[in-house]
Structures are given as C-alpha cells and as structure tokens.
C-alpha cells in the first residue's frame, strides 16, 4: 500500500458557528471514521491545525502574519493514510466528516525525497 496525505481545506467559518451539540456529534463522526481507518490498519496519523499562521517567502526575507492560502483554501488539518492507489484514497476521503462543514479534501500521494 502507498501513503497519501489529505489536506483538509476551508470550512473554518461554518465550523466556528457550530453549536456545542453539533460539535459533539461532529467529533463522534470523526471518531467513527478515523476509528474505522485505524481498525483497517490504514490510518497513519493526522492533526487539525490552528487557524493562525505565518508565511515566509522571497527567500525568507518576507514574513506575513497569516497562512498563505486563506478562506476556502486554508489548510485546516491533514491526515496521512494508506491506500492502494490515488483513486482508492479518494474513495476513502469521501467519508471524511469535514464535508459536514463545507471542507475540500485534497488527496496527494507521498513521494520519495
């Protein structure tokens, strides 16, 4: 099996408007979905990210106090999983609970250095 990275993008606004009840439900969905991946031996790891960030560019000379991509393209978290192919990984990604708050999931294969 190959390894893939899910870049979970956007959805910040809707997520922040969640009620505590919705939040709880949402967390349980994550639990269920990731639990399934873990049981199947396909979960490698992953984390949600804080919204704030810094971006270095122009050889490190320019630093701005926010992530490079914002709004719909802001990376809100990532997951590393194992799958047979890019298609297989994309199929699995369809179950990601992040779609409940309007995220986009970018599926990328890990490459050798």
């Amino acid at each position: 099996m190959k390894e893939f990275l899910y870049l979970i993008r956007g959805g910040q606004e809707k997520y922040e408007k969640n009620s505590p009840d919705e939040m709880q439900k949402h967390m349980e969905h994550w639990q269920e979905w990731m639990g399934g991946l873990a049981q199947a031996g396909q979960l490698v790891g992953g984390q949600p990210l804080m919204t704030e960030g810094k971006t270095l560019s122009e050889g490190g000379a320019k630093i701005i106090d926010r992530p490079l991509a914002e709004g719909k393209e802001l990376v809100g978290g990532y997951l590393l999983i194992k799958a047979d192919s890019l298609d297989h990984a994309s199929e699995i990604a369809k179950g990601c609970p992040s779609f409940e708050y309007g995220c986009t999931v970018e599926v990328r294969e890990i490459s050798p250095m």
Binding site: L49, E52, G53, K54, G60, E73, T104, P112, M113
Partner: protein, 114 residues
C-alpha cells in the same frame, strides 16, 4: 513545547527548470537543514508529495483530478517540528532551502488537545 507544521508551497516550476545535478545538491541542503532540526530534538516527521492529486469538493461527491491549489500555492511537502512559540518556529523555517528556490513556507500550529 508546542507542535508546528511547515507547509512548503510552490516553487515547482523553478525545480523543473534545474538540472539533475543542481536538484541533487539542493536535496542535500534540505537533508542538512532537517538533520539540524533533528539534532536539536525538534523534528517530528515529514514527507514530500507528488505534484499530482485529486480534490474532493464540499459535499464529498464531486472529485476533480488535480490538487485544489496549483502553482504558487501547491503544497509540495511538509515537516512537523517542536518549538516553544510560533516566532521560534518561524525563525527555524527561515533556514529552509526551499525558500531560495521560490517556495514559501507556511508555519501553522497543530491544534492543541485539551
């Protein structure tokens, strides 16, 4: 210590324009940089990514055969490090060799579990 992820974005066009030899030397710089972080016990892991990919759009049904963002904002890899503050992490990121090859580095704190 907190955990931060460095997202390396863009610079693919420049990379493709370089000779194999130049790419090799550049990769050595990357290795040295990461090795320096690891020696200070601040490196937690990371990967490089293939430029292709798929995007599953909101709703989880529509799939397109490319990454959501391209060119300048395409994530080409990431590493996870430990640092006390985002400023310290940003300082560490300044040493990234990719910055010299038109990449940018987005520094983000990993969501703390509390």
């Amino acid at each position: 210590m907190k955990q931060f992820i460095f997202l390396f974005k863009g610079g693919d066009e420049l990379w493709d324009s370089k000779s194999e030899k130049e790419q090799e030397v550049h990769m050595q710089d990357w290795m040295q940089w990461i090795d320096g972080i690891a020696k200070k016990d601040q490196y937690l892991g990371g990967e490089r990514l293939y430029p292709g990919g798929k995007t599953i759009h909101p709703g989880g049904i529509k799939v397109t055969d490319r990454p959501l963002t391209e060119t300048k904002e395409l994530v080409g890899g990431y590493i996870i490090v430990k640092a006390n503050t985002i400023e310290e992490a940003t300082e560490m990121a300044k040493g990234c060799p990719g910055l010299l090859w038109e990449s940018s580095v987005e520094v983000r704190e990993v969501w703390p579990e509390d």
